[in-house]
Each structure stands twice: as C-alpha cells, then as structure tokens.
Amino acid sequence: MSSLSFANNANSDSFSLGGLENLKSQPTELPALPKKVQYQRKSNYYYTYIDREHTFEENINNLAAIYAVTWVVYPLTQPSTVKEKGSLENYRKNFGQLVFDKDEPFWNWFVHPISGSQLFLFYRARGYSRSDALTMSFISSTLFEFTVEIYTEPASVQDLYQTPVLGSVLGLGLEKLSLYLLNTGNVLGKIIGHAINPSTLFWFYEGKVKLIPQVGKDKAGLNVHIDW
C-alpha cells in the first residue's frame, strides 16, 4: 500500500511522494503551491455594525452632539444664504411655522437625503439598530428644521419627512456598499468605503472589530476584540 505524505511549513511548500516508485507510470511532479501568505491582503480589522441598547443619557448625549454640529455646519455649508436671509427677526417670525417649500429637486431629492443618510450612518456607527437610527435621525432633523434652519427659512414639510426617511433608505444602501468595500481589504475599497460612510473613520464607530488569530499546540482560534 502506497502512502502519500504532505509536508507544509513556512520555509517550503512542497509535496514529498513516498512508495510510488513501483507504479508503471511515474506521476509528474506537482507544481509547488503558491505562497498564499505572500498574496493575501492583510486587514487587522473587520468592519460591521453591532446593534445594542442605549441608555437615556446616551441618547441625549448623541442628540446633543449632532445638534451642536448642525449649528456649526449649517452656516459653513451655506454662507451666502445665512448672510443674505438670516436674521434674528426671521428666526422669531419663522419659529413654529411649517410650510411646503418650493425648492428645486437638487435640494429636496439630493442634498437633504444625503444629509439624512449621514445622520443615519452616524447613529448606526453608535450602535443603534436601523429602526432606532431612523428614529434618532428623525429627532435630529426635526430639531434642525425647527430651531436652526429657521434662522433663514421656515421649517419644511418635505424636509421633515424626506431627510430621515429617504435618508435612511439611501443610508441603508451606503451602509451595505461601504461594508463590502471596507472589508475587501484593498486600498481603493477602503478609501471609497470611508468616503461614502465617513462615520467609520471616527473614534465613535463601534463596529470596527479587531481579529487576532491565536494558534497554539493542538488549538487554533480567533480573538475578537470590540471597543465601545
């Protein structure tokens, strides 16, 4: 009975054939296995989302953080509108008003859903489930519409709905695409993945899982390390 032994170590990947000398036709030598380690893309992290429960205090802190950011981002992204239309008089007049805006599709179907998608992805990064992330986005965008944007214009019915809801639909697509790209391990994938889902870059992202392989005598395992 012939035997086939297989040797594989870090220094040489090769087959050694024993007991096959008596065969009529000698087997051709198999090509050496490629050094797979050399070709593997190394990634220390696995990107995912880990849903968890949040305390009331955490919810308030997250809402407050986003609310503070909107006061900074709004005048920075629309300086001309704030300069031309913004005033405390308008703020007082617009307070509590709710209208159908007449904006062009660029704003209602592009800018607001994109803003909403990033809000959704922020709350997802903080460990909220999809439904909870949508609810938190709804609260955040409502606060923005009724207390920040009224410095220049009254709150809009379309924005109140479309920012969180269309935003979360878009956010769901961006979430799946970004995770796929980030976990490919290649540089371009990571750049695009982080670009469409910037929350994955920051310290508050809870889904960055560190995978540490552990190999010992008669055992092999994977140590999963999660920070939050």
């Binding site: 007449k102 062009e104 704003w107 179907w109 439904s131 949508l134 379309q158 709905y161 639909v169």
Partner: protein, 249 residues
C-alpha cells in the same frame, strides 16, 4: 387604465379572505417601492368646453418612488408615507388668477399622508396559482386597507403654453393641495420583517388646491417666490397609483 385598476381592486377585495395575520408586531418598519400614477386634472367638473363640447383630456402619467415609516400594533399600523412622482402632461388646462393657462409640460408631485392601516387575516394563494409559479416560494399574504388626509405640492413647468404676460420659461407654478388618500393592497406575511416582505398596492387620492405660487427658478440653488395667493379649487386632481415594493427594515 382606470378600468384595469378598478378590476384589480375588485379582485383584491374578493381575494382578501381570511385566517389570521402574523408577521412582525410592535415594531417600526420602513417600506419603499416604485410607483406608476395616472392623474386627471379638473376632471371632477371641467368636462366640457364653454361651447358645450365634451373635452377628452389626456391623463398625466408619472413614475416615482413611495416610502413609508410606520409602527405596527397587532393588525393595525399607523405612520407616514410619501410619494415623489415625475411626469409629463400633454393637455394641461387650469386657471391662474382668472386666466386660463393651457399647455404641455412636466409635473413634479410630492405628497405626504399620515395614515392608519387595517390588515386582514392571512390568506394563501390557491394551489393552482402556486403551481403556475413553480420554483417560487409563495408565502401567505394578508390584505390591507389604509387611508388618511393627504397634502400635496405640484410643481408645473410648462414647455409650451398659452398665457398672457408674466409667466416665463424659467418660472414654475407650484400648487399646494389637500385631499384624501385611500389604498388597498396585499403584503407577504413573513415571520420576520428582515425577510423583506413584498407588497402590492393600489391607491386613489382626490386633491383640491388651496394655494398657488409663482416661482422664479432661474437660479436652481436659490429659488425666488414671486408671489402667492389663495387658489381654492383652481386645480382638482384625481390620482390612481400602483405601487410595488418591500419592507427594507
């Protein structure tokens, strides 16, 4: 088209025979789908010309998306839904400040409807129909009816029009309307919403305008409202919408 949709409504109504409705409970859900709509403007009254001849106006066809955000208690849902529809109208005729504007152009419609939905008990697709779709795992379904008040904004941009003064090509008219939306549909009754159950829905909505604005859109980033006034009954709209979609999460 209306006849076809009417027949489908009738078949759905008959098909909604019941056992029990399961699916997810006491949870939020976001639905999204694609819609096809056919609208008639002023069709409630404006059926004849001043000379008494009957006018056969061409309906406006539009396509778009529908989303909804709802909470489910047992067999009752409450939530908000919105449709965005883009379409062309070849035979528009409506009043604006005591003058009639006729023409053709594009119409953008956004509506928002708070709704209450009542689900029927679960029913199964008959075996013969299941056999016809061999290879497709057909789940039990439930039927539903939902309704609610609806607010709509229509932006009308005319390519060719017949009107005196003021109205220019870089202007658009926006009508704000209020109405009522009634929908019937069926939805897959899956144990978990993560199985993304599919729904098919037909809805009818009637609107009456209450405000019109003339908007200068020459600068697409910063629109300028040239004027607004009350527009009670200027435009009456009847819309039938066919939507197919799924629960996303």
């Amino acid at each position: 088209m209306f006849t076809l949709i009417g027949r489908i409504c009738f078949v759905l109504f008959i098909a909604i025979m019941a056992k029990k409705s399961f699916s997810y409970e006491n949870d939020f859900a976001v639905r999204a789908g694609f819609s096809y709509a056919q609208s008639s403007f002023n069709s409630l009254e404006d059926k004849s010309s001043p000379t008494g001849e009957e006018i056969d106006r061409e309906d406006s066809r539009s396509y778009g998306v529908q989303t909804s955000f709802s909470y489910k208690w047992g067999r009752i849902l409450g939530g908000l839904e919105s449709r965005i529809l883009l379409g062309n109208a070849a035979d528009l005729a409506f009043n604006d400040d005591n003058q009639t504007i006729t023409g053709e152009g594009s119409i953008r419609t956004v509506d928002i409807t708070p709704f209450i939905q009542f689900n029927t008990k679960t029913f199964k697709i008959p075996g013969k129909i299941q056999q016809f779709f061999t290879g497709i795992n057909i789940s039990p379904w439930f039927g539903y009816m939902k309704f609610g008040p609806s607010w709509m904004i229509q932006s009308i941009e005319l390519d060719k029009f017949n009107v005196a003064e003021e109205f220019r090509e870089d202007h658009k008219l926006t009508y704000e309307s209020i109405g009522f939306n009634l929908a019937f549909g069926i939805e897959e009754d899956t144990p978990y919403k993560d199985m993304h159950p599919v729904f098919l829905e037909i809805s009818g909505a009637i609107y009456e305008s209450f405000k019109v604005s003339l908007v200068d859109k020459s600068n697409s980033q910063e629109i300028n409202i040239l004027g607004s006034r009350d527009a009670k009954q200027d435009i009456k709209t009847f819309t039938l919408v066919l939507t197919i979609g799924m629960i996303l999460f």
